[in-house]
Amino acid sequence: MSGARVLVGTKKGAFILTSDGKRKQWDVSGPHFGGWEIYHMKGSPVSPDRLYASQSTGWHGQVVQRSDDGGKTWEAVGNKFVYDGVPGTHQWYDGTQHPWEFKRVWHLEPSLTDPDTVYAGVEDAALFRSTDAGQTWHEMAGLREHPSGAKWQPGAGGMCLHTILLDPSHPERIYIAISAAGAFRSDDGGKSWNPINRGLRSLYIPDPTAEVGHCVHHVAMHPARPDVLFMQKHWDVMRSDDAGENWHEISGDLPTDFGFAIDVHAHEPDTVYVVPIKSDAEHFPPEGKLRVYRSRTGGNEWEALTSGLPQSDCYVNVLRDAMSVDQLDPCGVYFGTTGGQVYASADAGDNWEPIVRDLPAVLSVEVQTLP
C-alpha cells in the first residue's frame, strides 16, 4: 500500500490531503467548493477514485458532487431529495409535532461492492439511496415510516441521520444512527428497520431507557467483526457484542464520557479511539487539553494520547464524522477540529502532528488507503 488520501469537509469548502505510506509530507488541494459547507466526503471502497461529496449552504440548499479522478475534477449530480409519500411529523423541541422537512445530507456512504450505489443520511432524518452514481435519489422509506417516527426529535444540531454502517459479512444488514432517535438496524437491505437501543440510558429524556429518543452521536464498527459496535452517545461510550441487540457502557476511566467521534483501529478490533469533550454545555476538551483516548481492551480501560497534541489553552471540538483510520501498518489515525486543524498519527495514536493547521472548522474527515 503506497499512501493515504484524507478527505476533509469544512464549513467553507473541501480539502484533499495526500501522502505516501510514511505519512510525513502532505500535499493539500483545495478549497474545492469554496464558501460551501461540506458536511461529508467519502470514496468508493471498490473504486477509490470515485468520490462523493455533500455540499450545501443555507442560501442554496443541497448539492451533491461526484469525482471520478480522486478529487481532481468534480461534477454536480442529483440534488433532488424528496420524501416518499406524505412524510408526516416528528417531535419538535417543544414537544409538539412538526412536519418532516429536508435540509441537508450529513453523510454519504458508498456501497461496499458497487461504485454507482451510494447511501445518503439526511436531515430531517431519513435514508436515501442512489444506484446511478448520484444522479437520482430514492428514499428508503421503511426507516422514516417506522412507528416510532413521531417520537424522534432533533438534537441541538438538527434531526440528522449521521451514521451509516454497511455490514460486509451480511450484505442485507445496514446500521444507521439518528440524533436524537437512536440506532436502527435493517436485515433486509433497508426495507424494514428496528430500533437497537436496549441498554442505552439517557437521563435527559423523560424515559431514560425508552426505545427511541436517545442522542446517539456516532457508531463505529470493525469490518472483520461487524457484530461488535462501539457508540459515542451524547453522554456515555457504549458497546454492543450482538449487532446492537444489547448495549453496555464502556466509559470506564475516561475523564468525561461526553463526546462526538469514535473509531476503531484498522487491524485491532478491540482498539477504540474517542475524543472526550467536557460536556454538552461546554463543547471543548477538559482542562484545555486535547487528548485522544485509546482503549486496547474494547473499552473501560483508556489511556490518554497526548504526544504532539496541544496540552494547554485548547478549546476546539471534534465533531462526530471528523475521525477516521487508514489501513496502513501501523494504522494511521486522523481527526479534524473546529479550529481547522487536522491531526494525524502514523503510529496508531502514540504520536500526533497537525498535517494541516488553519482550515475552516472541520466537519468531517475520511481517509482512503491508496494502492
Binding site: F33, G34, G35, W36, T57, G58, W59, H60, G61, Q62, V63, A76, N79, K80, V82
Partner: protein
C-alpha cells in the same frame, strides 16, 4: 434577450463568469425566466427554488429595475425593461451567515 445576474455561489456552480443571457419566447415572468435558466443550467435546479413546491428559497430575493419583486406572483409579467434585456433579473442572496 434576457439577462440574469446570479450570486457568486451559483455562478461558480453553473460555471459562468458573468451575467447569463438567453432568448426567451413568450411571456417574461419569474417562472418562465427561472424555467429557462434551469433548463440551460440544470445544476441550478433546487438551488433557487424548491424542487417540488417551486417556492423561492428563503434566503434569496429577486430584484428587477431596483424593485424587490420577490413577493410578486411567479406568473406576473416582469418589467418591460427586463423583457427587452435592458435591465437584468437579479437573484440575490441574503447578507447573512458566517
Amino acid at each position: 434577450m434576457i439577462r440574469v445576474v446570479l450570486p457568486p455561489h451559483l455562478r461558480t456552480l453553473a460555471r459562468v463568469s458573468g451575467d447569463v443571457e438567453f432568448q426567451l419566447e413568450g411571456p417574461v415572468t419569474q417562472r418562465t425566466v427561472l424555467d429557462a435558466l434551469e433548463s440551460r443550467y440544470p445544476v441550478l435546479r433546487g438551488t433557487i427554488r424548491d424542487h417540488v413546491t417551486q417556492q423561492r428559497r428563503a434566503f434569496l430575493r429577486f430584484f428587477a429595475c431596483d424593485q424587490d419583486i420577490s413577493l410578486d406572483p411567479p406568473d406576473a409579467p416582469l418589467p418591460d425593461a427586463v423583457a427587452r434585456g435592458e435591465e437584468p433579473f437579479y437573484v440575490i442572496g441574503a447578507i447573512a451567515g458566517g
